[in-house]
């Protein structure tokens, strides 16, 4: 079983600048969210969460039905739907389309789903340039890095890092002022927007009754990616569906506020197909790529299925005390934080990521802020017992299992417990800090068992 990246975690913990960056950025997002959902501002917040959860539950439990409705409506508006089992099928489709249209340049707006399938890398081998246009994603693309956070991909970088990246990769003179760095990126990317053959966006929501994709953003790059090129491809996981356009009222009330504290993000685009009749601009062709990539696996278990309700707001990351210490790159997959901790072991072999559900103190802060009420701690516990089951099958961690068997036996036999407790109290000073004790002692002084247990003190008291 693969273990946690302990060395890198320690490195992250020992980096004061990075610690401050993560803590401050997530702290700010927490505060903005709190302001946006407070009772005075949004009295119906808890009701909205309940509704969102119910709508998602209904949709996920009838996913095939709504996918077919979505497909029919996309087609009715002149678009095409492409179902893809995995990243390879997505790449094959895009490459085929690019070849047919002699396309060379793709502009992309932010899409975690595309990161998940290594979209850009797959296309790079085929003389097809895919440029990220979200500023943060553009920066990390240039730096060949993974996003650090679902909403803030370049959270871990300073302006000096950005200056280095731009100078090295764009050949521009060193520029450390963020406003000017933004201007540089804007100029470069504008050219790309105007020249691009294909625009690829993600989708925050897929609307079944409208055959539409909804894309939310603050910069304008998704609007541009879906408006200037002749072809627009939206890539989305099949779980992004909601049944009706009117359900957006609930989800849009929650998404911006939970993510950044904004009641609405700057741009919310409701796109349904290529341009129509007499519309002057807009794409000539629209393709909606619906990706499985393992999501159907997560549908199987009725308890864990709720992992698919996620609307990728990032609130759980911001509130997670573990994420706030170890940051996004110590998680094994593109999805980090609490949501990453529950979906990674479900999408991928649980033995590869068996440590992940344990890397949590189960504090519950995530569940408290999740706009769609995913019971993250409950799922972490479920995954923990699945991990121990798998380990038992593989004959691993026998010592730990034996320890808990002993624990259960002792705790079910009070006389043994009492005896054990007293022996422990006597022997404790003699026990060297090894194994779990050593781990505890690496950070803290060791607690000592009391000379007399409460049982003994109480018995003595009664005798008086």
């Amino acid at each position: 079983m693969t273990g946690a990246p302990s060395e890198n975690i320690q490195k992250t913990l020992n980096d004061p600048r990075l610690q401050l960056a993560i803590y401050a950025a997530s702290g700010r997002l927490m505060d903005h969210r709190a302001t946006a959902v407070q009772t005075e501002v949004l009295p119906e917040y808890q009701d909205l969460r309940t509704q969102a959860n119910q709508i998602k539950k209904h949709t996920i439990e009838n996913l095939d039905y709504y996918l077919e409705q979505l497909e029919a409506n996309v087609v009715a508006h002149g678009g095409q739907v492409v179902f893809c089992r995995d990243g390879q099928e997505v790449a094959d489709f895009v490459l085929g389309l690019a070849k047919k249209n002699d396309a060379r340049l793709i502009v992309k707006s932010k899409s975690m789903t595309s990161e998940e399938i290594h979209f850009n890398e797959r296309l790079a081998h085929h003389q097809l340039e895919a440029v990220e246009t979200d500023l943060g994603e553009y920066i990390i693309q240039l730096a060949h890095q993974r996003p650090y956070h679902i909403v803030a991909p370049a959270l871990h970088l300073t302006r000096y890092d950005v200056a280095d990246i731009f100078t090295e990769r764009l050949g521009v003179e060193r520029e450390v002022v963020p406003e000017n760095q933004t201007k540089i990126a804007r100029a470069v990317l504008r050219e790309k927007f105007l020249q691009a053959d294909i625009g690829v966006t993600g989708a925050n929501f897929l609307i079944a009754d409208s055959g539409a994709v909804v894309v939310v953003e603050n910069e304008g790059n998704a609007r541009l990616s879906s408006s200037t090129p002749k072809i627009h491809i939206a890539v989305a996981g099949i779980e992004k569906l909601i049944p009706r356009a009117q359900d957006l009222a609930v989800f849009l009330d929650l998404l911006g506020r939970s993510a950044t504290g904004q009641p609405l993000t700057v741009y919310t685009s409701f796109l349904s197909g290529p341009r129509r009749g007499d519309e002057v601009d807009g794409p000539d062709e629209f393709y909606l790529v619906l990706l499985d990539n393992g999501r159907t696996k997560l549908l199987v278990d009725p308890e864990k299925r709720q992992s698919l309700y996620c609307i990728r707001c990032g609130a759980c990351l911001n509130h997670c005390p573990v994420y706030r210490k170890i940051g996004g790159h110590n998680y094994p997959w593109v999805y980090s934080g609490p949501i990453g901790a529950i979906i990674t072991p479900q999408f991928h072999d649980i033995t590869e990521n068996g440590w992940l559900p344990f890397a949590s103190s189960l504090c519950g802060a995530c569940a408290e802020v999740c706009p769609v009420k995913i019971e993250i701690p409950k799922l972490l516990l479920k995954l923990r017992s699945e991990v121990t089951d798998v380990k038992r099958q593989h004959g691993a961690s026998g010592l730990e299992r034996f320890a808990f068997r002993m624990f259960a036996w002792v705790m079910a036999h009070p006389k043994i417990y009492l005896l054990g407790g007293r022996i422990g109290a006597i022997l404790a000073p003699l026990v060297p800090p090894v194994g779990p004790l050593k781990k505890w002692a690496s950070q803290r002084t060791l607690p000592r068992p009391a000379k007399q247990s409460f049982h003994q003190l109480w018995a003595a008291r009664k005798r008086k």
Binding site: A24, R28, I55, H58, E61, N62, L63, D64, Y65, H77, F83, R85, L135, G136, A154, L155, R159, T182, R186, L189, F193, I207, S210, G211, A212, N218, E219, G220, R223, S226, S227, T228, I238, R244, A245, Q246, D247, L248, A249, L252, P263, L264, V266, T268, S269, F270, L271, S272, G273, R275, R276, E279, V280, D281, G282, L290, D292, T296, L299, V300
Partner: protein, 214 residues
């Protein structure tokens, strides 16, 4: 089996559903009403719009629009959408204003070169200071997107309370247009050191002129 069929089959197996099986009914969408009186719409809109760093002002009628805007438009290259309301306001008649594009490329080039883009607004949402633009023959997408400044002329009658009211009025926006965009403030990012910067890709400056008797 096609990928489509495979995926749908996998879903049905996982959920224990059969093809064509109708879901149990979902409760009707809960759309909330306005939080405040209709006569506060303009005031609320202006407040929220300006909180987002936009500039908004109300004028009594269409004729009063140009006098408000002239200083801003002086000496600038301007593109305007084809909306009849902009004709009424005299905007499309101005010499520095290009409008009435029928070709996509011409429109795009003009927008890319322009300093200011002027559009009407299909709706505005008071609670969030939002402009709602549906793309159509009259309103192209790029006019409010490529130039660094966007000016929207908003008929007062088009101001709604909030998104809920918009979706009550337009339960299926897809039937109206291939694109409906809600614009809530100028383009922005906080991707570098969490510092707020405006005008990344979309317009960094936005104006709303509300025409009270329209």
């Amino acid at each position: 089996m096609t990928s489509r069929d495979q995926i749908l089959a996998d879903i049905r197996t996982a959920l224990g559903r059969t093809a064509g099986q109708r879901p149990a009914p979902l409760t009707a969408p809960l759309l909330r009403g306005p939080r405040f009186d209709r006569d506060l719409y303009i005031q609320t809109f202006v407040q929220r719009f300006e909180k987002l760093a936009g500039k908004a002002f109300a004028v009594p009628d269409a004729a009063a629009v140009l006098p408000q805007l002239s200083p801003l438009l002086d000496g600038k290259r301007v593109v305007a959408s084809h909306a009849p309301f902009l004709d009424t306001c005299g905007i499309t008649a101005l010499p520095q204003v290009q409008s009435g594009f029928s070709g996509r490329d011409a429109l795009r080039d003009a927008c890319a070169a322009a300093d200011i883009g002027i559009t009407s607004a299909d709706y505005a949402l008071a609670e969030t200071g939002t402009l709602v633009m549906l793309s159509s023959r009259q309103e192209a997408r790029l006019v409010s997107l490529l130039p660094p400044v966007h000016v929207a002329i908003v008929p007062r009658s088009r101001i709604l309370a909030n998104l809920d009211e918009l979706l009550t009025l337009l339960p299926k926006p897809a039937e109206q247009s291939s694109s409906m965009v809600l614009i809530t403030g100028p383009s922005r990012t906080a991707d570098i050191e969490q510092i707020l910067i405006r005008g990344v890709h979309g317009p960094g400056e936005i104006y709303a002129v509300i025409v009270e008797n329209a």
